[in-house]
Symmetry: none
Subunit: 353 residues, 2 copies
């Protein structure tokens, strides 16, 4: 689709805000039969849904639970099956390691072995981060010919190994490690869509994903209020803003239904602040479901609303899984969202004469 879209892009001055609620989608709590979105009081999102075109997006394929990488790539318009970003790269992005083209990154666990060298605990008893720091320092001393070796702590038992060919030799590393990966060559989002693109995310992993597709990562604080302040500050200098909200996912991962409801309600209260900026296109969606009853990512398609002057509001008046399922956008692959957004921003010319 990117090949179809890129030649259709036309310049405009319209502003686009994509609010991504991490782990947005949920499932009914058995006691009430209502999901987190159906339980929360969300007056602003309901009003926005009533004014918007609604639907569900599926990030990879039916039944496939997306990781954060494919979840976000889909939102950004990339087919997650075509552009695969491995664990090593994601882990490196998560600690804001300055990954470069050609680097090979692997995710590592410290483990416990017995006297015979057999692995008896893949997480080394979830060792303390301080021990991890000492271990990575020791590993860093290993020298390999022609290759720079980086061993970086993440936390507890987790570390990242990055191998970089030394510039002088000009040698290139092959991505031949299993379950690992070279920094993938992704078409650059700002060039494909002709948008001065900014990412606002308090969490490093999401900043890293945005950087991976070439967005400018704006410096922000640690809270969603900080993110909103950053959005306001940079309103005039960019066309597209990816704004990331983490709390929904955290609560879902913890299996804490009520906390997820509260996280949704907090986000709802921020919607008027975003609308006050008068974006031409406002999208609310997420990178994957994190149903509290699963206490982890889910495969369920995720609600999406697209508001613009030209969105064609449908009959949906609530921002929930079930209501959006009856919306005019249907159930669509997430990588089709960006073309729709671009159309609503009057930034695409027609296809064919």
């Amino acid at each position: 689709m990117l090949d179809v879209i890129a030649p259709l892009v036309v310049p405009n001055t319209t502003k686009i805000v994509l609010v991504s609620l991490d782990g947005l989608g949920g499932l009914p709590r058995p006691e009430t039969g209502r999901s987190e979105l159906e339980t929360a009081s969300l007056p602003n999102l309901s009003q926005l849904a009533a004014d918007a075109a609604c639907g569900l997006i599926r990030h990879v394929a039916p039944g496939i639970t997306p990781g954060s990488g494919p979840g976000h790539l889909g939102l950004f318009g990339y087919d997650p099956l075509q552009y695969q970003v491995g664990r090593g790269v994601l882990e490196a992005l998560g600690i804001e390691f300055d990954l470069r083209a050609g680097d090979v990154a692997a995710r590592g666990n410290f483990c416990t072995v017995d006297a015979a060298g057999k692995i008896i605990d893949r997480r080394a008893g979830r060792l303390a981060t301080e021990i991890n720091l000492k271990l990575t320092e020791r590993l860093r001393r290993i020298k390999l010919p022609g290759v720079e070796v980086f061993v970086e702590s993440v936390k507890e038992y987790r570390f990242v190994l990055v191998l970089r060919a030394r510039a002088r030799g000009g040698a290139r590393l092959a991505a031949g490690l299993s379950e690992t990966d070279q920094l993938p060559k992704l078409p650059r989002f700002p060039e494909v869509f002709g948008l001065r693109s900014a990412a606002i995310a308090a969490y490093p992993m999401y900043r890293g994903l945005a950087k991976l597709v070439g967005m400018e990562v704006l410096k922000t604080g640690t809270t969603f209020d900080d993110e909103l302040a950053t959005l306001r500050e940079h309103w005039d200098t960019h066309d597209f803003f990816f704004v990331h909200y983490k709390d929904t996912d955290k609560a879902g991962e913890d299996g804490d239904f009520d906390a997820k409801v509260r996280a949704l309600e907090r986000l709802d209260r921020a919607i008027p602040e975003i609308r006050a900026l008068k974006p031409d296109v406002l999208i609310v969606s997420g990178d994957h479901a994190t149903p509290s009853v699963l206490a982890g990512h889910g495969w369920q398609p995720v609600p999406v609303l697209v508001w613009s002057r030209y969105c064609g509001a449908d009959g949906v008046t609530a921002f929930t899984e079930r209501a959006c399922g009856a919306g005019s956008l249907g159930v669509m692959p997430s990588q089709h969202l960006m073309p729709l957004v671009m159309a609503n921003a009057l930034r695409l010319t027609k296809f064919g004469a």
Copy 2:
């Protein structure tokens, strides 16, 4: 899909009418929140929608605004991304130039150049058609070895250039011109679907598009009443009738909401005449949206209804964007419509044993 369908086609005597309302889909007028279809009084289309299976069709992909070429190819069952018809071919079809396989067609503008030869007006001050006629006559005198040159006036500043390899030399022209094209090789509609197929369209462009896929273009007049008379006259000699209605698109392109409402109401009054012929399958849809508020083609999916004895009426009782969005056909790619139509006409056998 055509490769899947063709071997499944079985003979039958059923009659199919596809009424294409050009630029059918619309958007709510901000003052009322109702679209053109929602504003118009359409008793006959509402009744038909109540008896039919309804949905929305998307001609290219979400967010992509189709030109008339891809819009119609989709309706005829062709994937518009696979079969691309360029501007030159469409312009040639629009003036009913007898384009042949192997011809290369380019769309041209007369322009104004300054003393240094630099283009200073790409439309030559929108020169009068009479001057255009004199200029094309001069250009026609240019001789090229091995190639027949056709230079045909369209109107004002616009002309078509067609190059045809002389049969004797047997030379073939390559489609190497940028932004232009060779007459594309399209599977022939009558053979793929096993239908004696007729196109009834008052406007040349749509006759040309039907001819491009091998339909027989029936001689008709300049009004929709003429088209209906042509439909009645040829009822016994054909199986499939593509009937084109232009007024909806014209009003939409003019940004004239009320005129589009009236155009829809005029079409509605013709529905009983079409039903009186007792087609076995009756489809009402369009080639793309032309929302009056956009005053141009739009990317929005377009309402569709498929009526037959076997269509399985759903809960939809109004032929509008929102009502059809909740129909049993869902939001489907336009090229899936023809297989569905063929099934409803009992003209497809089952796939696999």
